[in-house]
Subunit: 556 residues, 2 copies
């Protein structure tokens, strides 16, 4: 079943919170939607009932088996009744939540993000990339005319006097602005930062209004397909290193699409709109795409059918050879150029050892007004966007995409001078979702700290002695914690270590202090041994090495 059926129920309700649509009870990702009302307010209890019901519904939805469907509907009905009781003024109370479409990241989520970013950045650096950063907002004019219809999704800042500003919508336009402004003719850079879109968030499918983009681009006047192939190599390295299973990088070329449309008889002014119809082929069936082309976009059915024959083709070098000999496509100059470039790209992919992961896919279209050459999109197998039996896309499939955009920088240059660019954007939010789900399924705890040693005391009044030990360990660059309470039961201290995954404990008591020793306890085995205070640091270092305590926050 689909989540959207349930969301539909409530969203279509006239009871929805005017300020906040469906988010009022769906809450932010952490199920939190609490009210800062005085307890004495008669609305207080009602609010809390509503919130708790909202949380129950969310939990039911997360479980998802079919037999919960009825129960969810019942709960939603109850919720709507309660909201009605609350009346309209309730919506004016201050609600403790994050803005719609945004969420906090707790330490567990941050630990997973850090892992993912580290692997991605390692790959970018392996290929000699630098990094830059740009402001979170740009002059409104900088973004104007770059996103077509999607411009309505741009967040504007309020006019508080001074310049008119907008939050960045992606990292590509600020990059182009940066190149033009600084007259940079070549650079290989990555940029990892948040971007903002006033989209209707489908948070269960990993779409948000604030989300990370993770871009790698090569700008410069270089030889055909050399930078383009390296971008694909990087995507392959990243997906391999994240161990996400099999994937395929679909590639296509704008010239091939243009040539195809031309030789099928699409009028040039319809290239763009037909292209956007083709782009839906990864999410829906050909019959629907054809209907859109014919009924909505006025293409003769035989033209659509001819396009249909080609765009359902995919393959490798042998397909390119065949198409070059194709009497229609091969005869079109633009298509033939594109096919020759594609041939070279696949040749380079072969040299980079990734040809088996690349598929020349004529249905790949990706917003044509932006790209001028190669386009690509990486899709995880087993997470495809293909229509499922129920006709619903499963959502998480495409995990990277990009292409060549040779004309964007010129839009910012006073003389229209271009800097050719090719790049790829890693869909990190989707990767996070997959890895979070995997971490949850594994039920192993994700460590959120890297603490190696906990300094515990077995008796009272030892805080000063613990502090001396902590100082010695910190100064020796050993990651160390101690209780922030002077006197805590030893059992509680050890429990804290087990819960948070701290592998080693220093235990001191009166005897140890008198003998100038400490006990080193290994949490996993509960073994303890005594070492002299003088040897403590060295012994711990050996132990940390032996246990292979990972620097990163790995799953246990």
């Amino acid at each position: 079943m689909s989540d959207s059926s349930v969301e539909g129920t409530t969203m279509s309700s006239s009871l929805k919170d005017p300020d906040d649509d469906d988010d009022f009870y769906a809450g932010s990702e952490d199920l939190i939607c609490k009210v800062a009302l005085p307890f004495s307010d008669p609305k207080f209890q009602l609010y809390h009932e509503i919130i708790s019901l909202g949380e129950q519904i969310k939990t039911l939805k997360a479980e998802k088996p079919m037999h919960f469907k009825k129960r969810i509907k019942e709960e939603v009905t109850k919720l709507l009744q309660l909201k009605q009781q609350l009346g309209d003024d309730g919506s004016k109370k201050f609600i403790l939540k994050t803005p719609k479409g945004t969420r906090d990241f707790n330490p567990q989520k941050m630990a997973i993000r850090e892992q993912v970013f580290n692997l991605i950045i390692a790959s970018f650096k392996r290929h000699g990339a630098e990094t830059i950063d740009t402001p979170v907002f740009e002059l409104k004019e900088t973004l104007t005319g770059k996103y077509g219809e999607d411009s309505k999704l741009i967040y504007d800042l309020a006019d508080q006097g001074g310049e008119l500003l907008s939050l960045r919508y992606d990292l590509t336009v600020p990059f182009a602005r940066y190149l033009a402004m600084n007259k940079i003719k070549n650079i290989k850079r990555y940029h990892i930062a948040k971007v903002y879109r006033r989209d209707n968030p489908a948070m269960t499918r990993g779409r948000y209004r604030e989300f990370y983009q993770c871009d790698f681009d090569i700008a410069g006047q270089y030889d055909l397909m050399i930078p383009d192939a390296e971008c694909i190599k990087i995507v392959a390295e990243i997906l391999d290193s994240l161990e996400l299973g099999e994937f395929v990088v679909k590639v296509n070329h704008r010239k091939i699409l243009d040539g195809l449309f031309a030789c099928c008889g699409v009028p040039e002014e319809k290239f763009k709109t037909i292209c956007s119809a083709v782009d839906k082929l990864d999410k829906t069936f050909w019959a629907d795409v054809k209907a859109e082309m014919v009924d909505e976009k006025g293409l003769p059915p035989e033209v659509a059918d001819m396009i249909g024959v080609y765009v359902q083709m995919s393959g490798g070098p042998e397909l390119i050879e065949a198409l070059l000999k194709d009497e229609k496509l091969g005869a079109n100059k633009r298509a033939a150029e594109g096919l020759e470039e594609m041939k070279l790209l696949l040749r380079y992919c072969d040299l980079y050892g990734i040809l088996d992961k690349v598929s020349f896919d004529m249905s790949l279209a990706r917003g044509l007004d932006y790209y001028t050459g190669v386009i690509y999109e990486a899709v995880l197998k087993g997470h495809t966007n293909e229509p499922t039996s129920g006709g619903e896309p499963t959502g998480v499939g495409s995990v990277a995409g990009g292409g060549r955009y040779d004309n964007l920088v010129g839009m910012f240059d006073s003389k229209g001078r271009n800097v050719p660019c090719v790049g790829v954007s890693i869909g990190v939010e989707r990767l996070f979702s997959i890895l979070e789900a995997r971490a949850q399924a594994a039920k192993g705890k994700t460590r959120t700290t890297e603490t190696e040693v906990f300094v515990a005391s077995a008796q009272k009044n030892m805080v000063e002695e613990r502090m001396k030990i902590c100082k010695a360990l910190w100064d020796a660059n050993i990651k160390t914690e101690q209780p922030y309470k002077k006197n805590q039961k030893l059992l509680n201290q050890l429990q804290y270590c087990e819960e948070t995954g701290i592998p080693l404990v220093i235990v001191i008591g009166e005897t140890e202090i008198q003998k100038n020793v400490v006990k080193i306890r290994t949490v996993a085995t509960r073994e303890e041994r005594e070492v002299s205070r003088d040897d403590m640091v060295e012994e711990l270092r050996t132990e940390i090495r032996r246990l292979g305590v990972s620097g990163g926050a790995a799953g246990s």
Copy 2:
């Protein structure tokens, strides 16, 4: 001399760009303020003259010796005349720049940032901290009533339907909101992110409208001064690791200040305003502070004098002992409590080996409506805020600050339940400025990539062979680049390595390919030796280890 004198000249001019104030020629940090006008536009040349003059002025200002003052004034006059010629409509043209008070970070700056962040994060992790993230904007209501007068500096988003939002002003209020919303009773977290203030930017003094904050906080009901002392230990570790020279962490306590004001006879309703006067003591002379207290804030001169005696005191444990015996201060219950806590704090600092870096300073006040206990501020010696002979503050002095705020979380809780917190914010922007200036002064190149090996070819038509080698090296996790042009002169390839600091080059030519060998060239010594292709990876690994190629982007 002061920058502001020059800025004053232009800011007070009626010719200033209505959209952009003084920034029009001051430009963003990178001196860039280019115009996207067609070259044929008669205004084009004028604009460019203005911009180039603006850049000259900026350069002169950066040099700063007194004898430039006259020249700067002349240039500014010329600039104003040119702007007048341009007339009013000029301001309506699209100017290629970043928003006022913001700037891009080029790879050099990013490399320094990365170094600083890595050291800071290492210290946070050494103390067992987790990290969280929150959205860049919050519900407007979340920020309402938290910043007093500074609320006017909050950036609001435009009302585009839906919730009213504002950009975060700091990381502390979002942290408190996060704790209350998730009912978290204890956490030790760091948060590094950008915050936004519509301040009048003084960019030469390192103040911006978009800037990083770097916060570490310990939340939880713990024993007196244990977390507070650890925050100071962390500040000391960070400043030590950055090798910024000597520093002092000034500490004070809200209870001591309150007690002091009470026993000097300040009426309670004036505590806050008198406190903010005291707070200026690090930037101006006592005489001025006294004048503010007496003339502006209506304090009897003898009360101000009495405060003056105390707030000019600073020292260590011995000062606390003396004040505890002081017949005025020691007799005040609140002050005595504060002094006892301060005594314990210094005792713990002693155990942590940092007492020599801590100074109990009665003039430290830091916005009192926020803090409830200990407050602190770290100041670099030799970069102090103290008035200079010219009476001008030098600006970069305070590099970290924080304190205890036990009541903030309660403002978000429906029942007002508090979570005691203590934390510190590292002034990373100031640290960046210092380290950037140092890098510039050292004239050494800051590496912006970590590339270890460049794959060069000595003859034409070897791109495929280079690609095979690159694949082998990338797969062996060796950071590798090659030219993106098929055929490039060897000299240019080697020059690129020298410029970017790549230490090793693989050189291939026809002979090498035939013999199944490669040449390994050490860039620094220009030595070359031949190794077999089979040994290439191992030989390079050995060489990389031998050269100690730093993973990070260190100065050369």
